[in-house]
Amino acid sequence: MTLLEVSGIETFYGKSQALFGVELEVEEGEVVTLMGRNGMGKTTTIRSICGLNRPRTGRIAFAGTDLSRLPPHRIAQLGIGLVPEGRRCFPNLTVRENLIVSARPGKWTLDSVEALFPRLGERFGQYANTLSGGEQQMLAIGRALMTNPRLVILDEATEGLAPVIRDDIWAAIAKLKREGEAILLVDKTIDEILAVADRCVVLEKGKTVWRGKPGEFAADLQNRYLGL
């Protein structure tokens, strides 16, 4: 069954239209990447899925449930775990508290998150605002996993991190994929994306303009859509 189905959504910020018809599907256990240059609507698409910006038209369904009328917390409860852009942890809670505050029962527990990110385990008692950028990113991913989502959405998970930390994050994403998590991924490091993705969706000016396998995303297409 299709886990996430986005069809023809148009989203506005006030009077200015950001999305002009985004098409996107994620199947169970699949890694789909959303690509495009800055300002093409990637984050807006994610915000629309999570109910943070309501699309004016179009349809978003998750495991058969229409999301268009649900508030953000209900959407999250259905099983969408968002790792927002910019590592948004709760700075006034400890690492452990950040993880358990929204935890829901399932295979992801404090222990399994610690196994995925051993660095977090060393810092369970620390406040989140004392973590480095990379650790905060790990925490944001861990927090999303602790809700035991059916779909993890990673928005710019490796942006602004040191190369060695990026490698850690990509290794964790690859591990999540092997464990069968469905992931919707937004990122700009093309080589890593193509290595991990099952399918690619490219946005341009708020519209889906290309969909296909990573192998088909040839250099001329990369040049055309991503300016690489």
Partner: protein, 323 residues
């Protein structure tokens, strides 16, 4: 043991020891002063739950303080003349029953007030809670059956099984025990998942919703709990003064509670206790010198806000998680 825990224990010990010594030295005035501290600390501990942990600046908590006070007053006056209460309920002067009724009524009042107020944020939240409190204040003023503007006197303090509430020390110990129970509850709440979510909601509610928790329900629960604690303090306050007055509900009282919380340390477990001790002692010491003692209180508050934002507890125990 960290410094904050040590300081909390010192505060608890001093607040307990001072009136015991004063009582032994036959100085009932100081016992009453300590009782006033314990009760105001309890009221502020209630507010601290909403304001300190939840970031909900309620400018209407005096309403709950007053509701608690009027429950104590109304029960006392009915019990005095053995008149049944409205709805044919039997009158009693037993404090636990009165507390239960005060808690229930405060929860019933806080539920709609919170449900409406929590749809707003920032300055609008402050104003709407103030508006509700003023409505209740004017209702009390214009209710002649229970004294109206003159308030309602309590001829004989309500009683507590096994203790003599007319004895200043006994009454202090009751108030102290209720305060400690409230602080223990606050501590449990703070470290529970509910408390974490409440603090997370203060930080960023959208982020909290995005992980599947509805901030509104968490905040409403905290607001109601907070109102209940403040209401209990009101019931004790009326018994202390043997008087329930509409001024307990005025916006000055709401402001005073906020001042107590800020003086002591916002969102610190024993902040309300430190704040109440400082406030009452200043009131006593400066009030003896000049009627305009609140000018000095204002200066001190200014100093705290500018230079010691963690309040007394922050000054002694350093920065906590909440800044």
């Amino acid at each position: 043991m960290n410094r904050e825990t040590a300081f909390n224990l010192v505060l608890a010990a001093v607040l307990l020891a001072a009136p015991v010594i004063a009582f032994a030295a036959n100085e009932p005035f100081y016992v009453a002063l300590a009782t006033r501290i314990a009760i105001l600390a309890l009221a502020a501990a209630g507010l601290n739950l909403a304001l300190g942990f939840g970031g909900l600046v309620s400018f209407g908590h005096a309403a709950f303080f007053g509701i608690g006070g009027y429950v104590a007053g109304i029960f006392a006056s009915h019990a005095m003349y053995s008149e049944p209460l409205p709805f044919g309920l039997p009158a009693t002067d037993q404090m636990p029953v009165i507390w239960l009724v005060a808690a229930l009524l405060c929860a019933l009042a806080a539920l709609p007030i919170g449900a409406i107020s929590l749809r707003t944020t920032g300055v609008y939240f402050i104003m709407i809670t103030l508006a509700f409190a003023q409505m209740i204040y004017y209702f009390a003023i214009s209710w002649p059956a229970y004294g109206g503007e003159d308030g309602l006197s309590i001829p004989v303090r309500n009683s507590f099984v096994g203790l003599n509430t007319a004895n200043a020390l006994h009454f202090f110990l009751i108030c102290y025990a209720v305060l400690m129970a409230a602080l223990a509850l606050t501590w449990r709440i703070r470290d529970s998942r509910f408390g974490m979510a409440l603090q997370a909601a203060r930080q960023n509610e959208v982020r909290l919703a995005a992980v599947g928790i509805r901030p509104f329900r968490i905040r409403l629960t905290a607001f109601v709990l907070s109102a209940v604690l403040t209401g209990l303090a009101g019931a004790l306050f009326a018994d202390l003064n043997r008087f329930a007055s509409p001024s307990m509900m005025s916006w000055h009282m709401s402001g005073e509670l906020i001042v107590l919380v800020i003086l002591g340390g916002t969102g610190r477990l024993f902040g309300p206790v430190a704040g109440a001790i400082l406030y009452v002692l200043l009131e006593y010491a400066l009030g003896g010198m000049t009627e305009r003692w609140q000018l000095f209180l204002g200066l001190i508050l200014l100093g705290v806000v500018l230079f010691a934002r963690g309040g007394v507890v922050g000054l002694v125990a350093g920065k906590a998680r909440y800044d």
